[in-house]
């Protein structure tokens, strides 16, 4: 464990009844890297993210350590999901977690929730404090809107936008949280090649501008091999291999379990 570690998961097991969704998994995400998690459907990828972000409770004995901005290590298992989010772990959802009934801008403003804390009476009376906070949040959101090229749809309802744009809105929302670790759950699912390329470009821009580490679940092997620094392969909740792209591509177990089925 080095100073560069952002997230360290040890011996994580999640069980639903008789099904072991994650079986004794351990992994490490380094500062500033793009770590990818791949595996066939039902391999336990999303479950892992859910356990890290506090939605599922793993079996005792696991540890999920996270190094926040301030450099301190904390064990995330002791905290509730919203506290974990406030420490700087942000995530997107496989099946979209955007708020349909709100505008793009309001979705981003929700991402600023934890950064503009004041007494509710300030907001109720719309005092100068509240105005200042709201304006600060809006400036940040405006810059994210520009970063993700969403100016044209800023005031539209999210439900009226195409799927690809909604995914971008969700990305923008987690960006507004200024995360230290960004967990993307299949950010490119259901996109065409062009949209995928665009998404990759946005992810790179984010990593450049915010110095964020990215943990990504993705199905598209071509893209993963091209962009991820390290890759972990899961099957039936178990780890098959971890390493850089070339190692994974040449790993016989991975070829059998995953690539073999495709090629």
């Amino acid at each position: 464990m080095t100073n560069e570690t952002v997230l360290q998961v040890n011996d994580l097991t999640v069980q639903f009844g008789g099904v072991v969704a994650c079986d004794n998994l351990s992994l490490e995400v380094h500062q500033g890297e793009l770590f990818a998690l791949i595996g066939p459907n039902g391999a336990g990828k999303t479950t892992l993210v859910n356990a890290v972000t506090g939605i599922y409770e793993p079996k005792p004995g696991a540890s999920v350590k996270f190094r926040g901005r301030n450099g301190e290590m904390t064990d995330l298992l002791a905290y509730r999901p919203h506290q974990i989010a406030r420490m700087g772990v942000a995530r997107t959802f496989q099946n979209l977690g955007v708020f349909d009934a709100q505008t793009v801008l309001d979705n981003m403003m929700l991402g600023r929730f934890m950064h503009e804390k004041t007494n509710i009476f300030h907001y109720g009376l719309f005092s100068s404090v509240a105005v200042k906070k709201e304006l600060a949040a809006r400036r940040v959101c405006q810059s994210i809107v520009e970063l993700l090229d969403l100016q044209d749809v800023r005031d539209e309802l999210v439900s009226e936008l195409p799927y690809g744009v909604q995914k971008r809105v969700e990305l923008g929302r987690v960006l507004a949280m200024e995360p230290h670790l960004l967990m993307l759950d299949e950010p490119m699912a259901g996109m065409n090649a062009e949209e995928k390329q665009e998404m990759v470009r946005y992810v790179y821009r984010i990593m450049d501008e915010f110095k964020t580490s990215v943990f990504m679940i993705e199905h598209d092997m071509g893209i993963i091999m091209a962009i991820a620094e390290r890759i972990m392969v899961l099957e039936f909740g178990r780890e098959i291999a971890t390493g850089v792209a070339e190692d994974i591509q040449n790993n016989p177990a991975v070829i059998d379990a995953y690539l073999g089925a495709e090629h």
Binding site: T53, I55, R80, P81, H82, A85, R86, A90, R91, F93, G97, V98, F99, D100, A101, Q102, D106, M109, L110, G111, R112, F113, M114, E116, T118, I120, Y123, G124, L125, F126, A130, V131, K133, E134, L135, A137, R138, R139, Q142, D152, V153, D155, E156, R173, M177
Partner: protein
């Protein structure tokens, strides 16, 4: 296909970008300046003497309010933080203010025969509309914005009334002390009775809150029987605090300024309702309100944005209950008498009808809904008495109450089937269409 909707510029922004013609912005201002003159011309001068000057100043204030900031850069975020940020919204707000200020004067004037409607009973209705709008707005904060289906609404009206009776009647303190105490009690109990909401959702929460209603109803019945006997509560007339007597126009009789007429109640009700509703509107359009909506739509997503979902729910419960409790206290003082069965569960459903028929997604809905709820029966009554053909039919006058009930039920269903977003949605659609029509001829074809 190049329709307007596909140009990716929402209608609201098109309107923003368009400069409003000067005459339109000046209109409220001109009306404000002209109105005393007009009032004087039609030889009806409710303000009288120096009050004319005060009225004039107030109206100029409204005009200025409508005028100011109408010309700012539409992309400036500060503009969109304004409650009414478009010129038409400001103009409408100004007109609403004007109408609201005119209503009590109109209703308290003795009119000549062609205009001699039973104005005074309308006055009562107007006051009820204002008070119910506050309660309905607070209810909507909880049900509409936070998505917590609570039926404990009447319970908090009871709590407000009990606080009002305890503080105002038994401890003989001022009415003005009752209100903050009622708010405080409402907030605390709201948090307490909101605890089931942390575990239950939807239907089950609704049932648990009906349980809360019956528990508080039991407390209420015990309280009223032990403290006031079977004749029920008789509330005293509130008095304006003496330190407010320096305000011109407030002429204390015998050292007191009793709020004892519909005219005086109107201003008290209007003031408190306005403050309460503006508070809700401000909460809803800023950080906490966005969190409420997030909790309503997807609570797991909300959690992962750093929103403490239980806390948000409880804050919503506290705020809503506090305001409902205040409105309960006000309603009881306004109503003067309260008895054992003043608060049925049906009352909650009445509030539900108000917010759903008025429109779920907005405080406007609470106001429209209250108007619908109270003005309609009044209108029917007037029809039954005045319209020649209808007043002749014996059946209508014999079953007046039932017919009102039936028509209200049918209208509720019709509104819900025909316009899911309620009367407020209808109003907004009409407004949008009118605005677009005003723009269209000059703008020509888009793209």
């Amino acid at each position: 296909m190049t329709s307007v909707t596909e140009t990716a510029t929402p209608a609201s922004r098109q309107i923003l970008a368009k400069r409003t013609p000067t005459w339109m912005r000046a209109l409220p201002f001109l009306v404000a300046i002209a109105s005393p003159v007009i009032l004087d011309k039609i030889s009806w001068n409710p303000f009288g003497g120096w009050k004319l000057l005060v009225g004039f100043l107030v109206l100029v204030g409204i005009g200025w309010f409508a005028w100011s900031n109408a010309e700012h850069d539409p992309d400036d975020p500060r503009l969109s933080l304004k409650l009414w940020h478009r010129a038409d919204q400001r103009a409408l707000a100004a007109v609403t203010c004007f109408v609201l200020m005119a209503i009590p004067f109109i209703l308290s004037t003795d009119w000549e025969p062609p205009m001699d409607f039973p104005w005074n009973s309308w006055f009562r209705i107007v006051n009820y509309i204002i008070l119910f709008a506050l309660g309905a707005g607070a209810f909507n904060l909880l049900v509409g914005y936070t998505g917590q289906l609570s039926m404990a609404h009447a319970a908090f009206l009871m709590i407000g009334t009990m606080v009002g009776a305890q503080v105002g009647l038994i401890w003989e303190q001022s009415f003005w002390l009752c209100l903050p105490v009622a708010a405080l009690a409402g907030a605390v109990l709201g948090v307490f009775f909101g605890i089931p909401a942390l575990r239950l959702r939807g239907l089950y929460l609704m049932l648990a809150t009906i349980g809360v209603h019956f528990i508080i109803l039991l407390v209420w019945k015990e309280y009223i029987v032990h403290q006031f006997g079977f004749s029920g509560m008789r509330f005293t007339t509130p008095n304006l605090p003496s330190w407010l007597h320096w305000i011109p126009g407030i002429n204390p009789e015998d050292g007191e300024f009793l709020i004892n007429s519909q005219f005086r109640w109107f201003w008290v009700n209007l003031g408190i309702t306005t403050v309460g509703l503006l508070f809700i509107v401000n909460v809803v359009r800023s950080r906490e309100g966005r969190a409420f909506a997030a909790v309503r739509d997807r609570d797991i997503s909300a959690t992962l944005l750093g929103i403490n979902v239980p806390r948000s729910k409880l804050v919503s419960f506290a705020l809503s209950s506090a305001l409902v409790s205040v409105s309960g206290c006000m309603l009881s003082y306004y109503n003067r008498a309260r008895s054992e069965d003043s608060f049925h569960l049906e009352l909650v459903l009445d509030y539900g009808i108000i917010i759903v028929v008025g429109g779920f997604m907005g405080i406007q809905g609470a106001i429209f809904g209250s108007i619908f709820f109270f003005a309609l029966p009044m209108y029917f009554e007037w029809m039954r008495e005045e319209l020649p053909i209808i007043s002749d039919i014996d059946f209508f006058s014999r079953y007046a109450g039932e017919i009102d009930l039936a028509i209200r039920g049918i209208l509720v269903v019709v509104v819900l089937v025909w316009r899911p977003d309620g009367l407020a949605g209808l109003w907004q659609a009409m407004k949008k269409r009118a605005l677009l029509r005003m723009q269209a001829p000059r703008r020509g074809v888009v793209q």
